[in-house]
Structures are given as structure tokens and as C-alpha cells.
């Protein structure tokens, strides 16, 4: 928070320069008071510090229009008109300068607007078509150190009826995969099982028909009614206006469609576009088991809407009371459980993308600073060329304020052109997010684009640009030494404080580019590591395909028999090496299931929580995935509910709880009773490539039945060639059981690459842009210095300096600047390393290769940039150089 306040003070200090001098002190005091007040208020809210900093800064940006407005009040329209005219004339006279500066600013502002449009759609407004979503909060269960637990239905009902303080209402939902059919072929769809007030809490009204009534969601099996998305309405019903009242078969049951949702609404899961909504009472048709009465079975996500005027801290207090009451009334399973509440932007998919978005936003901000300093240096150079003009104007009585105004108006026009071009660019580039989204079985959809808020952001970025790129040079340039400038324009520019300022600007550019390059290199290398990372399984050729036995009407006994027969039949398909099933695939985006357990012969320390993630797998699973067993055996056809209960654990679990003894033969308790460990599997990565080693259990699906399965097939031939044979076998077993979401193992691996790939590509682009800008800046200053020193160089050559000596002189000057920049960049990258480390896979944030490589690249390019003017200097004709003005 203090960092946020410091950042705001910096902004205020810059904006103060815009305020007319007589009002400055009071203006500053007013803003200081307001920011201190707001930062304290935010601190009381106890939000994540990033959110606080962001909100504080967003508030503080209001200082710029405020200051600009006060300044404008002190100007007459005629003065501005005149400034605009003269600025325009100048631009027309120097079209290349104008175009280059506007282009640089367009790149900076465009990149920022693009990133902001992503941040907005992912973090700030994660749900499309939901009004006032800043007032929505996500409730999660807490237990010990964990704060991301779901809720059981009975607990949700009690929380809702307790009417927690500060909340208007709470609703619950669960994303489900279903089969939908009208009369045609059944197809796969994703939807939500929702409480009756789901749409009321979201404030979403239907386009056609109605949404659910509360009583439709309460009595199990009572209401086979569904609400569908605009998309599904188009796909299955060709936008038939009389769709309300028609039938839709969902899994095995006929549902009556009662409403169609507006096109903008895509459901309550950020980043997913969902199509079907069914009331909670119909749980049994879309999910296995009977869950509505089980208080110990947590599977629902709960969102609430803040009551008007209430704040999240109030809700937190209210929920504490509710949690205590639940714990007292139903100690089993609520003992030790609490309820946490976070803004929607910190939940789910938004939460996953949050760190990388924060990193990218920071870096794109740095890129804008590089662009601004670049243009500032250009403006300074140009102002240097206009010394005589400015000095004449001062000499004939213009005030310094008038000169500053004119120069700022010029910078403003440039920034305006850059901002407009940048927003145009963002309109196109913001859609590039779609390129990074890997093929997944899920209907991933981020609605990004340039909207009002992005435009507002672009305008704010433009103002910041004017302040950085325009004001500083304007203040500098408007203070020429009149008598010297009038006497000798050229002499006034060599060395002196203005030369140093330009040099400092170039050093800053190089330092920031160095930082961006190092980060880009780190993330690119991290992506390489991720691509070759040890995931714990070695299967590379093969495919995954989803099967939904529940949708096809199987019960546990028939389902288990089907699994065994299917594995046997598919194994016989030519090109298939090995086949199995599992309830989930490692490194999927859908997270994982976990549960508590105890180990016989292991005394848990005080407050130690024994929690393991688990997967239900079929016979032959370890062979199929290529997961080696370090001890014991895997599962076979004999591990059914008739045999003794068994489990395979991973190495981490074995070493933690079976230290000094063999895990095989040991007993673990969870769920219904003790199970015997029959094998220890090699450790792997289960949810993300960056995760720490975690407890993992494999449970035989034939003992703990689960109907939503993924068929795992390892092939010896190209998977595409084997697929038709596999599909034929499954169809032969049951023609009403389609295979969904078929993807190859290779395609699946790309899901885990999504975030590293996004990061490395974008940072690569930003790093490249920064490098380009820094090099242009360096070239500019070296070329300018050479031009200024033409006469001096001519004298040296005339006095006998060799061309090599001249070449060396100029190169040395340029490279010294570059080297200082690189050194500062090193330090900056070192400071940033702790933050970066969390997002890197298998590589240190101080990786010497990345640092050295970036430095070599930057210095190499810097050499090339200096070489051009250096050669020009070395081959100067002394006579013409001496005649140079």
C-alpha cells in the first residue's frame, strides 16, 4: 500500500507542473488529503495489496484531468488556437519526425490498451453480460491452511437462509458437462446446475420466457425445466421464436425450455461460454450420486451479491457468525470450517491468470515509459535545433510559460495522434488473446475488445505520455541561455545540462529495455523447460476421449462391466499399445479433487493436515500413461468391489508417511474405511508445472465407481489413424454412447503450456519493441553528437588523427552510454527476480544465460547503431567539416 501511495505521489508531483503556479500548493494539499483518506479506507477493507494499489492509482489519475482543467481555465481559447496552428505547421514541415514520434507513441499506447483490455475482461469484468459485477463476491470454505473449498448443498441452504449481514442474497452453481439432443444426433454441451435464485443474484433477465422459480430448485426431481443460452438457441433451434415450451433432452431426461438468455451472458464461470442451465432439483440427471441431502459432500460454488452500501469487511464478519452457527449445529462435517469471501476477480480462472496478467501489465507500462522517454529525447533534440527560435521569442518578450505551453501543445498533438493510432491498433491486437488459447474440451471464451473503459484507459495513457514526453523537454527547452543561443546555436548544445538530460533519457531506455529483454529471455527459457519438463508420465503418442456413462443411463454395476469390456475390446484395435480409463487427466485446467486421510502407524503433528489429491483409474492405467511404479504393482481387472480395497500412492506420500518402512502393505484410511497400499508410483505434476510435490493417490475405478470418464489410449501409430477403429469398437458396445472431446496427448500437453507460452510470446514482443526503441534512441543521440561535433572532428582529422581513432572515439562514447544502461538494467532485473521466480518453471530468475545473452544482444545491436554515425565521422572530409556551421 505504501508503494501505491508513493506511486500516486509521483503522479501528483508530475501533474502539479500542469497546475497554474498560484494554485499549486493548495491543489497538492487537497489531493494529498484525499489520497491519504482513500488509502486508509482501502487498508481497512483488507483487499489484496495489488488491488488496493491499482484502485488507489486509478483514483489518483483523476488528478491529471483536474490539473489540466485548471490550466485550461487560465488560458484563453485564442491562445490555444494559435499554439495549435503553429504546432500543426511544424509537424507539416517535419513529416518524418512527426510520423516516427507518433508511431513510437502508438506502439506504447497500443500495447498498453491491448493489455488493459485483457486485464479488464479477465480480472476486472470476468463475467460477460452480468451487470454490476464489482458487487459480486465469491464465497469459499476454509479449513486449516486451505481457503478454496466448495460447499455442500445443505450448507449452502443454511448459509442462504441465515441471510448473512451485508449480502443481498447468495446463490450456488456447479459447471456440468451434459449431452443435449432435440430430435437429431446428441451433442456435447456444457452447462450449469444452479440454485433457483441464480439469475436473480446475477441480475440477468432472459431474452425470451422466464428464469427459474425458487420452488423449482428445491424438491428433488420435481422440475425438468431448462434455460438455454442464445448460442444454443441458434445452434439447435435456428432462433425459433416459439422455442419456449419445446423439449430438450438433457442426458436421459426430457426438459421443457422455459427461457432463452441474452447473447452477452455466458454463465457464471469466468472464461467459459456455457449453454444449458438446469435447476438444482435435477441434480441426479446431470451428475452422479444423490448429493442434495449430503452435508459432507462439498461440490458447489457459491457467489453472493453485496447489499447496497455494504462492504466486503461487513460480509466477512457476517459470514463468521454463520460459520460458527453451522459448526455448532452440525459439527460433523463443519468442525473447524470457516467461510471466506473474495471479490470475483480473485476467484477461479481470473485467479489463475492474475499473476501473469499483473506481470504483463507492469511490463507493458515499462514499455510505455521507454516509448515516452524516446519521444522526449526526440523532442529535446528538436528543441535543441530550435534554440535560436525560442531564444528570439524570449528576447522579444514571450514569457517562459508561453513557450512551455506551446511545446506542451505540440507534444499533446503528437500524443493525440499516437493515442488514436494506438487504440486503433488495440482494437485489432486485443483479439490476439484467442491465438494463445489451447485446444481444450472446455468452451473457453474470453470476450475481449476495445470498450469504453479501454478507451478511457487509452486516454489516460495519452495524458501520462504528454506529461512524461512533453513537459520535461518543454521545461528544459524553454530555459535557453538567450545570449549564447543567439550568438551561436551550435555551441549552446554541446555538452551542457541538456546533453546530459538526453543522455540520461537514453540510459533509462536502455536500462528498461535490458530489464524487458532479460525477462523475455527468462520466460522463453522457462517455456523451453516447460516443454521438456518431467510431468511424471512418459506417454507421448496416443489420445484421450471423454465418455459419459451417466448421460447414457448406466448404473454402477453396468458401468463397471462396460469399463472392463471396453478396455479389452479397444486393446485389440490395430495400432493400440495400451488402454485404460481415469476420472481426470493430469495437468488439465479443471483442477482436481482432494480428500483428508490418515495413515496407520503415522502420528500426525499438531495442526498437520493430511490431504491428498486423487484420481480414479482403471486397470492398466500406469502402463498406458507410462508412469513407472517404484514399488509394488498397479491395478488389474481383479481390483473390483469384491476384492480387498487397494490404493496406489505417489513417492511424496510414501516418503512422508512411510519413512523408514515399506509403503506397500501399509494401510490408509479415508472415505469408507481402511485401504491397503499395493504400489508406489513415481511423482508427477498433477495440476500445474510450477506446483510443489504433493500427495497423490490412485484409486481403482472398479472399486470406487465414477461415470464421467476419460478413455486413455496409448498408440504405436499416429493417433488419428487409430481413432476410427476405437470409435467403431465403442459404438459396437453401445451405439448410444458417443466419444466426446477427443484430443491427442500432444494437444493436451499444450494446455499446461498456455500460461508460459502467453508470457514468453508477449514478453518477447515487448522486449523486441523495447530493444528497437532503445536502439533508435541510442542511434539518435550518437548521430546527433556527431553532427554537433563535426567541426571538432574535422579539426582532429586535419591535425592527423587516423580514421580508426575517430571511429573508436565515437563508438566509445556510444557504447559507454549503452554499458551504463545495461548495468542499471542488470540491477533492475535482479530486484525484480523474487517476483518473477514464482512464475518461472525449472529455471532461476537469476539465470546467467538469460542475463548474459540479453547483454550481448543489446550491446551488439548498440554497436551497430553507433557504427553508422561513427563511420560517417571517420570518413568526414576535413575541409568540408571545417566549413560546417
Amino acid at each position: 500500500m505504501t508503494a501505491g501511495l508513493a506511486l500516486c505521489r509521483l503522479l501528483l508531483a508530475s501533474a502539479t507542473l500542469i497546475v497554474p503556479a498560484p494554485r499549486r500548493r493548495r491543489w497538492r494539499e487537497q489531493w494529498d488529503a484525499e489520497l491519504v483518506h482513500y488509502s486508509r479506507w482501502l487498508a481497512r477493507e483488507r483487499r489484496a495489496s495489488l488491488t488496493c494499489t491499482w484502485r488507489l492509482f486509478a483514483r489518483a489519475t483523476g488528478a491529471i484531468p483536474h490539473a489540466a482543467m485548471l490550466r485550461l481555465q487560465s488560458w484563453s481559447p485564442r491562445m490555444i488556437e494559435q499554439d495549435l496552428k503553429s504546432a500543426w505547421r511544424l509537424f507539416v514541415r517535419k513529416p518524418v519526425f512527426t510520423a516516427v514520434s507518433a508511431l513510437i507513441l502508438a506502439l506504447g499506447i497500443g500495447a498498453n490498451a491491448t493489455m488493459f483490455s485483457w486485464v479488464e475482461s479477465i480480472l476486472l469484468n470476468p463475467l460477460d453480460g452480468v451487470p454490476d459485477q464489482q458487487r459480486l463476491v465469491a464465497l469459499t470454505g476454509t479449513y486449516g491452511s486451505r481457503d478454496n473449498l466448495s460447499f455442500s448443498y445443505p450448507n449452502f441452504v443454511d448459509i442462504r437462509s441465515a441471510r448473512p449481514d451485508g449480502l443481498e442474497d447468495v446463490m450456488a452453481f456447479r459447471v456440468v458437462a451434459v449431452t443435449v439432443a432435440t430430435r437429431a444426433e446428441p451433442s456435447r454441451a456444457f452447462g450449469e446446475l444452479v440454485s433457483g435464485n441464480f439469475f436473480d443474484v446475477l441480475h440477468v433477465r432472459p431474452l425470451l420466457g422466464r428464469t427459474f422459480r425458487d420452488n423449482e430448485a428445491t424438491t428433488p426431481g420435481s422440475a425438468a425445466v431448462a434455460v438455454i443460452s442464445d448460442g444454443l438457441w441458434g445452434r439447435l433451434f435456428a432462433r425459433d421464436p416459439s422455442v419456449v415450451g419445446r423439449m430438450l433432452k438433457i442426458n436421459t431426461t426430457d426438459f421443457t425450455i422455459i427461457g432463452v438468455l441474452p447473447p452477452a451472458f455466458r454463465g457464471s464461470a469466468a472464461g467459459l461460454a456455457l449453454d444449458v442451465y438446469v435447476p438444482m432439483s435435477m441434480q441426479r440427471t446431470v451428475m452422479p450420486g444423490d448429493r442434495l441431502a449430503a452435508r459432507g459432500n462439498s461440490w458447489l460454488e457459491v457467489y453472493g451479491r453485496l447489499a447496497p452500501g455494504s462492504r466486503i469487511e461487513q460480509v466477512r464478519a457476517g459470514l463468521r457468525v454463520v460459520a460458527e452457527r453451522l459448526e455448532k449445529t452440525y459439527p460433523q462435517p463443519n468442525e473447524g470450517r470457516g467461510i471466506a469471501v473474495v471479490p470475483l476477480s480473485q476467484a477461479d480462472a481470473s485467479g489463475m491468470l492474475r499473476p501473469i496478467m499483473a506481470t504483463l501489465m507492469t511490463f507493458v507500462g515499462l514499455l510505455l515509459i521507454v516509448a515516452c522517454t524516446n519521444v522526449a529525447a526526440l523532442l529535446l533534440a528538436r528543441a535543441a535545433g530550435r534554440q535560436r527560435e525560442l531564444a528570439v521569442r524570449l528576447a522579444v518578450g514571450a514569457s517562459r510559460a508561453q513557450l512551455v505551453r506551446q511545446l506542451v501543445v505540440e507534444a499533446f498533438l503528437l500524443a493525440l495522434a499516437g493515442g488514436a493510432a494506438g487504440l486503433l491498433m488495440a482494437n485489432w491486437t486485443s483479439r490476439a488473446l484467442a491465438w494463445f488459447i489451447p485446444p481444450t474440451p472446455y468452451p473457453i471464451a474470453f470476450e475481449v475488445g476495445v470498450d469504453q473503459r479501454v478507451i478511457a484507459f487509452g486516454v489516460a495513457a495519452t495524458f501520462v505520455t504528454v506529461v512524461i514526453a512533453g513537459l520535461l523537454p518543454a521545461l528544459r527547452a524553454s530555459r535557453p541561455d538567450v545570449s549564447r543561443a543567439l550568438k551561436d546555436a551550435a555551441a549552446a548544445n554541446i555538452g551542457g545540462s541538456r546533453g546530459r538530460l538526453r543522455q540520461a533519457l537514453v540510459i533509462a531506455q536502455i536500462a528498461l529495455s535490458m530489464l524487458l529483454l532479460v525477462c523475455a529471455a527468462l520466460f522463453v527459457r522457462s517455456l523451453r523447460r516447460a516443454e521438456t519438463a518431467d510431468t511424471g508420465y512418459t506417454a507421448r503418442t496416443g489420445l484421450f476421449a471423454s465418455l459419459d456413462l451417466q448421460a447414457a443411463g448406466y448404473d454402477a454395476a453396468r458401468g463397471s462391466a462396460f469399463i472392463q469390456t471396453a478396455i479389452e475390446r479397444v486393446s485389440a484395435v490395430p495400432g493400440v499399445r495400451s488402454v485404460s480409463v481415469a476420472s481426470s487427466v493430469p495437468l488439465d485446467i479443471s483442477g482436481g479433487s482432494d480428500q483428508g486421510f490418515s495413515v496407520e502407524g503415522y502420528e500426525a503433528r499438531q495442526n498437520e493436515e493430511l490431504i491428498a489429491y486423487y484420481n480414479r483409474v482403471g486397470p492398466g492405467y500406469f502402463d498406458t500413461m507410462g508412469i513407472s511404479l517404484v514399488e509394488g504393482r498397479g491395478f488389474t481387472n481383479r481390483d473390483t468391489s469384491d476384492g480387498p480395497a487397494v490404493v496406489v500412492i505417489n513417492q511424496t506420500m510414501a516418503s512422508r508417511y512411510f519413512a523408514g518402512r515399506s509403503a506397500v502393505g501399509g494401510r490408509i484410511r479415508f472415505g469408507n474405511g481402511p485401504v491397503t497400499v499395493v504400489g508406489v508410483a513415481r511423482d508427477g505434476k498433477y495440476q500445474s508445472l510450477t506446483e510443489k510435490p504433493k500427495n497423490y493417490m490412485y484409486i481403482p475405478v472398479l472399486q470406487s465407481y465414477w461415470p464421467a470418464l476419460v478413455l486413455h489410449v496409448r498408440t504405436s501409430l499416429e493417433p488419428a489413424g487409430v481413432l476410427p477403429g476405437i470409435a467403431r469398437e465403442i459404438r459396437r458396445l453401445d451405439s448410444g454412447l458417443p466419444l466426446f472431446d477427443v484430443r491427442t496427448i500432444e494437444e493436451h500437453r499444450r494446455i499446461a503450456m498456455f500460461v508460459p507460452k502467453l508470457a514468453s510470446t508477449l514478453l518477447g514482443v515487448f522486449g523486441g519493441l523495447a530493444l528497437l526503441l532503445a536502439v533508435v534512441g541510442l542511434y539518435g543521440i550518437v548521430a546527433f553528437t556527431v553532427a554537433q561535433q563535426t567541426r571538432e572532428i574535422g579539426v582532429r582529422i586535419a591535425l592527423g588523427a587516423t580514421r580508426l581513432e575517430v571511429l573508436g572515439l565515437v563508438l566509445r562514447q556510444g557504447l559507454a552510454v549503452a554499458a551504463v544502461g545495461v548495468a542499471i538494467g542488470f540491477v533492475l532485473a535482479g530486484i525484480a527476480s523474487p517476483v518473477l521466480q514464482k512464475q518461472l518453471i525449472g529455471i532461476s530468475a537469476l539465470d546467467p544465460m538469460s542475463f548474459a545473452g540479453s547483454a550481448v544482444l543489446l550491446l551488439g545491436v548498440a554497436c551497430a547503431a553507433c557504427a553508422v554515425p561513427a563511420f560517417r565521422a571517420a570518413f568526414l572530409q576535413p575541409l568540408s567539416a571545417l566549413r560546417h556551421d
Partner: protein
């Protein structure tokens, strides 16, 4: 802003907030939901047009709370008139709970 011209919605909302006792910038932002980039310039304009008056908080009071003094805004008589006219025009402006009354 000339007196005869009717108020913009934003200006009306700000007058409304000040009229209900929300007397400094961030409080007004929170009540109206407008951005800081709208509220501050509009406050200046409204003061210049004579609809608002501003004063600085007593420095000692602020010091006691350990924070810098704030700039407080109040309605002038003309501001009150303009607000009533605007409330008539924008019927949709939702009532703001007044901070001076406890019964809201």
C-alpha cells in the same frame, strides 16, 4: 458553465451528493460512482459557477486524526435551486442516504 444552461447528469449527481452531506472528493466519488477524472474538474466548475462553495477543514481537527486537512464543499443557495431543478429533470437520480440523519 453558464447559469442558464441546465446541469449535466454528472454535475447534477455531484450536487446531489454534496447536498446530501457528502462533502469531499473521494466521498462524492464513492456515492456517485463517477470517476475521479470527472468529479474533481466538475467540482471546480460548479464552484466557479457559484453553485458550490469550498472551505478548508480546520487544520487542528485534521491533525488530531493524523491526516492532512481536506477541502470541503457545501451547496450555495443558488446551488440548492439548481439541484432542485435538476432533480425534477433527472427523476432517475436515486436517493442518497443523508449522512446527517440517522433514520435513513
Amino acid at each position: 458553465m453558464s447559469r442558464r444552461r441546465s446541469l449535466s447528469y454528472g454535475a447534477a449527481a455531484i450536487l446531489h451528493a454534496v447536498g446530501s452531506g457528502h462533502c469531499f472528493g473521494f466521498d462524492i466519488i464513492d456515492t456517485t460512482g463517477l470517476t475521479s477524472g470527472t468529479v474533481y474538474p466538475t467540482l471546480e466548475r460548479l464552484e466557479e459557477a457559484g453553485l458550490l462553495r469550498s472551505r478548508w477543514e480546520n487544520a487542528d481537527d485534521a491533525h488530531r486524526d493524523g491526516r492532512p486537512a481536506r477541502r470541503y464543499f457545501t451547496l450555495t443557495a443558488r446551488g440548492r435551486e439548481a439541484l432542485n431543478a435538476a432533480l425534477e429533470k433527472y427523476k432517475a437520480l436515486r436517493p442518497i442516504p443523508s449522512v446527517s440523519r440517522g433514520d435513513a
